[in-house]
């Protein structure tokens, strides 16, 4: 190798790393810009949905924070609290206004663009008010399909973003992540898990547009909304309160039943039938998806964070610190979770904390508090193993800070395990949450906000009748999600742990030879 080539290589090599990602993108912007344009378009067509969600979340957070401030200020001076409350009210009104404004923005797959609620003008149609005059079932199915396809495409686009980074902007031509993704590609069961998770996330985000009607109209304030329908007896189009229509569309066994994929007497289509109180089950379940995903996500997020930090601390410092954490974790595990949930729900029943997210916030905290010891226990082993590796000693020997050692040299090796156990544990949280709502009586998510467990419980007495759909379909919604999360966990485990794979391959080879 001549001197000149050596220098060019060197300049190329160091030059490459010195350049920050932004500069690397500026140097060859095409792939990135193309991807960005696509993402922009994808967000733009559903901007209203995302903005509504974001503003609503900010509003909740704002109310929560000001409530906390009020509590603290109240302890010092009583007069200041009213100021805080004024600020809270003003801010909340403003943010709610923004949320409503965002909600009024048209979206490509929204109910305004593809309406499915309408009524017949005569005994055999035509339909008025629906998309292109289609019958409500078809209009609804079209919208549902489009939204699902859209959501999956957005997910694919985000994955594609990573691929573009890998192919065009990353320095290393290979990293361990590539292998993991590769292994997940051939893993059908894991892919099923990912698909399920994506579908349920779509339900949480696009829920209001997915149902044939809305939670607000059909469930929360059914006597403030009127609908039109073709009355076969009067042979004319009549107007009725939604609440009244619900009252006459109950599913209560053989006498009164509106089953799955049928219309009721008010020209309304019910893909999953109606509940025992006449409300639309599909809409109810979509509404439940959002609160379930938020509570479960928050709980598992906090629990995973605590478990990650504490498992690394136990493994790195070991000794009495480890013992202390162990004792704490065992103490928490020994408290029966259900009793704790019931107690906390009772204590915070009338407290502001208990009202955030319809009681979901405090539940998420309790779930996080009771779940981290389980995750910690599962991950402590792998963490201890990593702490024994010589690269950790090497880092200590040149004086690396413990925090950096944990982040750089330990975390990457336990994050996979965390994901595996977290996704499997989430199933348990979802089941417990549903169980609480099933029990009712002030437990779980407070009515009328939809909760899956409550739907199961409403249908409980009709399981053996023609209204079997209430409990069965709600139960299935829970079961599919829990199964999907377990599949996801299996997929991640196999993706991060090639040893099991190669061991199996060896076994297979040995078996073939014998």
């Amino acid at each position: 190798m001549s001197d000149t080539t050596a220098t060019t290589t060197r300049e190329e090599l160091t030059g490459f790393e010195r350049v920050p990602l932004r500069t690397r993108i500026v140097e060859s912007p095409r792939p990135f810009l193309q991807w960005l344009a696509g993402l922009f378009a994808l967000v733009a067509v559903e901007f209203g949905t995302y903005a509504t969600l974001a503003f609503a979340m900010v509003e909740r957070a704002f109310v929560g924070v000001t409530a906390l401030v009020e509590l603290l200020v109240g302890a010092v001076s009583g007069s200041a609290t009213s100021t805080v409350l004024d600020i809270q009210a003003a801010g909340s009104t403003f943010l709610t206004g923004l949320t409503e404004w965002a909600g009024s923005l048209p979206t490509l797959f929204g109910r305004e663009t593809i309406p499915n609620q309408g009524y017949m003008l005569g005994p055999n149609g035509p339909w008025k008010g629906t998309f292109l005059g289609l019958e409500p079932a078809l209009a609804w199915a079209l919208r549902l399909t489009l939204i699902v396809v859209y959501a999956l495409f957005v997910s694919y686009w985000l994955f594609r973003g990573w691929k573009i980074y890998r192919d065009h902007y990353r320095q290393a031509d290979w990293t361990p992540t590539d292998d993991m993704v590769g292994r997940l590609r051939g893993h059908r069961w894991g892919q099923f898990g990912i698909l399920v998770l994506l579908l349920y996330l779509s339900m949480a985000i696009f829920g209001p547009a997915l149902g044939p009607t809305t939670v607000e109209q059909n469930i929360q304030s059914s006597y403030s909304h009127e609908i039109k329908y073709y009355d076969t007896e009067a042979e004319s189009v009549e107007t009725v309160f939604v609440g009244e229509a619900n009252f006459n569309s109950k599913s209560k066994g053989s006498g009164e039943n509106v089953g799955p994929m049928t219309y009721d007497n008010y020209d309304r289509f019910h893909p999953f039938g109606t509940l025992s109180n006449g409300r639309d089950l599909f809409t109810f379940l979509m509404g439940g998806a959002r609160i379930t995903m938020i509570v479960a996500g928050m709980a598992i997020g906090i629990a995973t964070l605590i478990a990650a930090i504490l498992s690394m601390v136990s493994a790195y410092y070991a000794g009495s610190i480890d013992l202390g954490i162990l004792t704490t974790a065992d103490g928490i595990v020994s408290v029966p979770r259900l009793i704790l949930l019931i107690m906390v729900s009772a204590v915070f029943a009338n407290h502001w904390l208990g009202n955030i997210l319809d009681g979901g916030f405090i539940l998420a905290l309790v779930f996080a508090f009771t779940t981290w010891p389980l995750l910690w226990r599962a991950v402590r082993g792998p963490a201890l193993q990593v702490a024994q590796e010589e690269w950790v000693d090497a880092a200590r020997s040149f004086g690396q800070r413990p925090r950096t050692i944990m982040r750089k040299h330990m975390l990457p090796y336990i994050v996979g395990y965390l994901l595996v156990y977290a996704s499997m544990t989430t199933g348990g949280i979802i089941i417990s949450l549903s169980a609480l709502s099933f029990l009712g009586n002030g437990l779980g998510i407070s009515a009328p906000t939809p909760a899956w467990g409550r739907a199961v419980s409403l249908g409980q007495s009709y399981v053996a009748t023609s209204s079997w759909h209430i409990s069965l379909l709600s139960g299935l919604v829970i079961v599919v999600l829990v199964t999907g999360l377990n599949a996801l966990g299996d997929g991640i485990r196999d993706a991060i742990d090639p040893e099991t794979e190669s061991a199996e391959a060896e076994e297979a080879a040995a078996g073939g030879g014998a």
């Binding site: 320095q171 290979w174 590796e389 000693d393 020997s397 950096t404």
Partner: protein, 445 residues
């Protein structure tokens, strides 16, 4: 290459003491409520390392050599004693002072599979020490990493590769480059080649020698047998059960080992020329637990040259061997603790769990012509064991058969030239020297 980072004045100081270790102890556990005694991994060791030399540290696994190496780079806290590095006692350093000092002493680890973080590129791995110490500018760090890659015989393109893509020898080169990054003066090489293929071992050793010359490094080279260290080490220290048995110039150790333990290690190396002293000495049993080392000389339970008590001159070699084996069995028994039920049985006189000791006695002494003054004590001891009191049996045997080696710790005696030191009672004038004893005993058996 890198001429800027070498310090020419060091060359002038070659031969000066860089590290002075005095009465260093490292004990694990103990002190707590549940553990009765601590593990004495390093138990009072003193030696020094000259600037620019390579000191070999040899011993069986578990003898404390790795712990000693790790203590020297402050991966372990010393329990007692001092390590003075260039005049500073580093056992008391902490915080920023410690971090700054760490640049001077680095370590190369044994297992190249475990010593590199697989999730980082080779460039990041070698650069990490520089980053941790905010060494110069970012560009200079990268330049330095590339220089190091070339120095250890890798190519600059390897910067963005992952360790996964390298062979064991190459990974070890990366580990060496990382250790060199901060321009240390002293490197602890913890069995750097024992996990590698034989064909690669020589290359890595040569690399280490070249680097030592290029960067004026001082090495502590840890190895588990004497064969490896001969080529690279200037001096060799031999460790057994946390204690230094012998230390001297490499050639002096090979040609004229004084300590019985070193002799037995040497006898395990295949000799090309069968000279007079090349009888193979096989050590019986295994090293005792470092939790409960012998009271006298650490090596006394297995020593082929052990000093025997005055009163038993007439007892022949085979019987002595049997006695030592029997003592070991009893010692093991006395370490086990009895269950409550067994303790109750012992009170009632119906204890029987240890009746198999009779078989041991038959196995060991059955074929031998045992003098009565020996056999009566053996029987007494066996009786005590059967009663469930192995600790008393152990004491009885100690009282009877203890010689100088069992009773008191030897001194570290100067023997021969070049600060040749050996840890053995036999270097005192009262006792016969090691060589004739070993020759006699090994030829007898």
């Amino acid at each position: 290459m890198n001429s800027g980072i070498e310090q020419p004045e060091q060359t002038a100081q070659l031969g000066e003491t860089l590290i002075e270790v005095e009465n260093l102890k490292k004990h694990y556990g103990g002190g707590g409520m549940f553990e009765s005694s601590s593990v004495k991994a390093v138990d009072g060791v003193s030696f020094s390392i000259q600037r620019g030399e390579t000191l070999g540290l040899v011993g069986e696994s578990g003898c404390g050599k790795s712990t000693l190496g790790r203590t020297l780079v402050r991966l372990e806290e010393a329990t007692e004693g001092t390590i003075s590095f260039d005049g500073t006692d580093i056992t008391t350093l902490s915080g920023d002072e410690l971090k700054t000092w760490r640049r001077n002493a680095q370590m190369v680890f044994q297992d190249p599979e475990s010593s590199l973080n697989d999730r980082m590129t080779v460039g990041e791995i070698i650069r990490e020490p520089l980053d941790a110490h905010d060494w110069k500018t970012k560009t200079e760090r990268q330049e330095r990493v590339l220089d190091l890659l070339t120095s250890v015989g890798l190519r600059e393109e390897h910067y963005y590769r992952y360790p996964h893509q390298f062979s064991g020898g190459q990974r070890q080169r990366v580990g060496i480059a990382r250790a060199l990054a901060l321009e240390p003066e002293f490197l602890v090489l913890d069995e750097p080649v024992s996990a590698l293929d034989v064909s690669v071992q020589a290359k890595i050793i040569t690399l280490l020698e070249d680097l030592q010359e290029e960067f004026d490094l001082t090495y502590l080279f840890i190895a588990h047998d004497l064969a490896v260290v001969r080529h690279i080490c200037d001096r060799v220290a031999v460790m057994y059960l946390g204690k230094m048995m012998e230390i001297s110039d490499t050639e002096a150790v090979y040609a004229d080992a004084h300590n019985p333990y070193t002799r037995s290690l040497l006898s395990a190396i295949p000799h090309p020329d069968p000279s007079t002293s090349s009888h193979r000495i096989t050590l019986p049993g295994t090293p005792p637990s470092p939790r409960d080392p012998p009271t006298g000389c650490q090596f006394s339970t297995r020593c082929p040259a052990k000093i025997r008590p005055e009163g038993y001159k007439h007892v022949d070699e085979a019987v002595w061997d049997a006695i030592e084996r029997f003592r070991e069995v009893v010692r093991e028994r006395s370490r086990m603790s009895l269950s409550t039920v067994d303790r109750l049985k012992r009170q009632l006189g119906s204890f029987s769990a240890y009746d198999d000791i009779d078989e041991t006695v038959t196995d060991l002494f059955g074929d031998l012509d045992v003098p009565t003054d020996v056999s009566e004590h053996i029987e007494t001891a066996a009786g005590l064991v059967k009663e469930g009191r192995p600790a008393d049996a152990r004491d009885h045997l100690n009282d009877t058969f203890n010689g100088a080696c069992d009773l008191k710790r030897p001194d570290f005696h100067p023997v021969g030239e070049h600060n040749h030191m050996s840890y053995c009672h036999r270097h005192e004038s009262d006792y016969e020297d090691v060589t004739p004893v070993i020759t006699r005993r090994t030829s007898d058996s």
